[in-house]
Symmetry: C2
Subunit: 97 residues, 2 copies
DNA sequence: TAAACCAGTTTGTACCGCAAACCAGTATGC
DNA sequence: GCATACTGGTTTGCGGTACAAACTGGTTTA
């Protein structure tokens, strides 16, 4: 109907995806600071995005301390791109400005 | 955080608001056909939008048959405009195209 | 040894969108 | 003139989900 991808549409995830699209790779704490989300929400939203196949999560260690990296997958980039197109289409149809 | 107006953000309502922004006034059945929503959903989303003060609902009669007209209020137009700006900002920050 | 901390995950709840059931009134078939 | 179908909606029930708060497993500090 509007055909907006609900996984991406959710504001918190839209923000995460937009951030990732900019940098191509980011760790949990950077996303945490940049997004302003709580840890819990960031964690679960990343979980949803991973489940959807839109991001890859890689868990490593920085010394003794766990480190989680996230990056957009190819399908993720594609989905985001399509989302942007549809959204622009919607916003445009209401008459400019 | 993303500061997206949740009332407008919901796809069905975004569509309704975009449609109304284009025409300035519309009746229930036109919105029904144009949006592809079910009657139930259209009714309740219009209710939400009215409750938020974003649309005015006017109930009249066309002959013997009830007719509901909807139009965007001033605050509604303003909210939609701001929504568009924020959304464009979000989509832009990920690097163009 | 314990207390504080880091980097997250799991859990609980309250809300919300959706579809289906419902309703009042009007035209139509018998 | 009675019932059946249709218009133009509204209300209800249910399933999914976002958010915050509590929890966990390991690590440094006191």
């Amino acid at each position: 109907m509007t055909d907006l991808d609900r996984v991406i549409h959710e504001p918190a995830r839209l923000l995460i995806v937009a951030l990732l699209a900019g940098v191509k790779e980011a760790d949990f704490l950077w996303l945490l600071r940049e997004s302003g989300l709580t840890k819990g929400n960031l964690s679960s939203h990343l979980g949803k995005l991973e489940e959807a196949g839109y991001v890859e999560i890689e868990k490593t260690f920085r010394g003794k301390i766990p480190l989680t990296m996230a990056r957009l997958t190819r399908p993720g980039s594609k989905a985001f791109k399509e989302y942007k197109q549809r959204m622009n289409g919607l916003l445009a149809k209401s008459g400019g400005s």
